[in-house]
Symmetry: C2
Amino acid sequence: MPLSDALNRHKEALLAALEVDDRSSLAARLPELRSADIAEILQDLLEGGQTLRARALLDGLPIERRANVIGYLYGEEQLAIAAGMSDDRLQAVLEEMGGDERTDLFKALDDDRRETLLRRMAHREREELKRLASYAEGTAGALMTADYVAIPAGMTVSRAMMRVRQTAPDAETVYQLYVVDLEGRLAGTLSLRQLMVARPGARVDDMMIHGVIHAAVETPQEEVARIVARYDLLALPVVDEARRLVGIVTHDDALDVMESEATEDIHKGMSIGALEGGVSRVPLWSLYRKRVTWLVLLVFGNLLSGAGIAHYEAIISAQVALVFFLPLLIGSGGNAGAQAATLTVRGMATGDVGVRDWSKLFGRELLVAGALGVTMALAVAPIGVFRGGEAVAMVVAISMIAIVLFGSLLGMCLPFVLDRLGWDPATASAPLVTTLIDASGVLIYFGIASLVL
Amino acid sequence: MPLSDALNRHKEALLAALEVDDRSSLAARLPELRSADIAEILQDLLEGGQTLRARALLDGLPIERRANVIGYLYGEEQLAIAAGMSDDRLQAVLEEMGGDERTDLFKALDDDRRETLLRRMAHREREELKRLASYAEGTAGALMTADYVAIPAGMTVSRAMMRVRQTAPDAETVYQLYVVDLEGRLAGTLSLRQLMVARPGARVDDMMIHGVIHAAVETPQEEVARIVARYDLLALPVVDEARRLVGIVTHDDALDVMESEATEDIHKGMSIGALEGGVSRVPLWSLYRKRVTWLVLLVFGNLLSGAGIAHYEAIISAQVALVFFLPLLIGSGGNAGAQAATLTVRGMATGDVGVRDWSKLFGRELLVAGALGVTMALAVAPIGVFRGGEAVAMVVAISMIAIVLFGSLLGMCLPFVLDRLGWDPATASAPLVTTLIDASGVLIYFGIASLVL
């Protein structure tokens, strides 16, 4: 990866310059690095307890870049940086930021600091910031920026073009324009590209697309990302309950949401709660808490398997060879079931699977899991003959098919059931499904053994 | 979700119109739907075997939209649609498509059809198509489009603006412009926004950003998506080995890659191979094949656990109560280990965890897993006392700590080991990790039991 090689060289040179406080070398290096890269260096410094050095690095940047870099940090890191800034400086940084990042930084500050900053702002700014900060985390409202280009309905192309030029330095994107009526309601959209090739005297109303795809302020962020992805949007307009345009979510934010939601889903699939930050940086205590809940719950779930075994203690004592196959059978059922649950949960998350696809998926899983069970039974049968004779082999093979089939159907159905109950289908994690199948597998296996032997 | 409600209403009306072949109603409904939505209806029709109806739907669209809609389909679906088109029509569709989609459709066709179409094309078009089709799937080359706006170095702002206007209808994006030198090498980049507010007589060279972030044609697509996300790019330029600009990957394609890579990673985490298409549509045979490989391999892996149990048959016969705790202990170890493996694998995929973070992560996992093990041991100890007395409780508690600790460290380390061996770290899936921990857990548990009892 040539990009990351060059990046690491730049980073090391920068750190060396910081070490000896070589300001001229620092000033020469900084323009070579992107804001995202400087933010990463800052994170390393903050994590290593070198807060002063981190602040020195930021001080070497022009105000615009400084605001940009701070926008890339997590809440706690922003708080550590802001603590070392005077109110004047912090206000200047806030003013340089885009609407969505300004709100995030504002939310990261403590109450006193927020009050002080609010008092220093102009009325309109203050109201906008308060409004943006009021939306719940994880919604379109919390994700959006108010820095979009709105064009009043009825404007001509040439005047709209002038409006674009005027707002160019501030707007988050000038490439998608939103036409609003007198009440501020979203009436249509057109692209800068359309505007550029249009006749100057034409009216935007005649060119705009009606029935604009939009989100509401309370739309969950994963749905926002999905809409942006589905319709290849540059930005998604967000409206309030009166259909008034209140902000836009841009493509880069949708991409970030897509990545963090995927990470959250992957962690959820293993019964790990949502982490705030990467696994290598998040505090240990928080990592412990996010992992322990389900692990302990499942300890008790696993007692069911133990109880099942206790119930069949007589047959186990008589045929200890049966225990040999126990981990294999419940393990295989658990694996197949976890696969089925994962396929369903991910299908639901991407919108590929809907609630009404239930019966179709059940039929498909019946066929696939049946075939999987038979294949695995064939693989295990010879070992059954070798270890315990033909009768044991038969019990093991039949149990394998039954457990794999039951486990897969359970895994496939559980997300639908959870969804029906108003829970997150992703709660059907691999550990939960495996635990449930372990317990049922014990009963199925020894049940069949009792019947046959 | 108001968006999907309105969507479903439109879809049903459209299907009803198709049913009775009501062309005027069809013509009235189609403009209300986006290409992505029409593509979804097409997919449903094709899947239901209603190929003729699907073709009738496409015929109701203007050629530009038709090309757009076909671009949303998977390879096999494209083939089914193309089979019903004359060479003339197919050529017209290809000509309307963007460079990246044209290449995908071309690749989906059979050899004869490809030859026929190539013969009908102009020399330059043919060479470009062949070149784009030659890049390996899953690389920047296969993802990129050649429809970008290149500006020769030295051009003035006003001439560059003219160039933008001329290429506006064809280019994939006109909002990011790429400055190339006489050899076609990427020299810099500037945004349309910069151009719009610049003095008409200024030269692009004086405004452009040097050291443009770029990818090589062979850069893997997941890295492309990560670069676009990291630097908030509208498009990522792609260069060949001579640093010549050969294409761009746009933000919407990066978003699609991010989603499909996440799905692939989630499936891999459960030992499911990469599916071509959603779980509800992919052929059953392919679903079986992608799931069976590891399931059967792990059957043999699970034999290790059985062998462990066989080895300790004497102590099991003497103390059958020990078997009661077996699923609980190996299940808990497996869950904690799968969590640790998942955290590492996802951290590596997002770039949060690098190879040199190994020792840091090991130290962190030691602390967290130690705490998890102690918590779970405390949860299970009382049940140990109740079921088998104090000695058994002690064995179970010590085993729990040992198994959770060992399992977590194994799960955390395995992705690093695999990466070191040149394998995909994601091979450290939950089923593999669980199987390994099951086997080691049996040995640890009965080993400790033999020592204590």
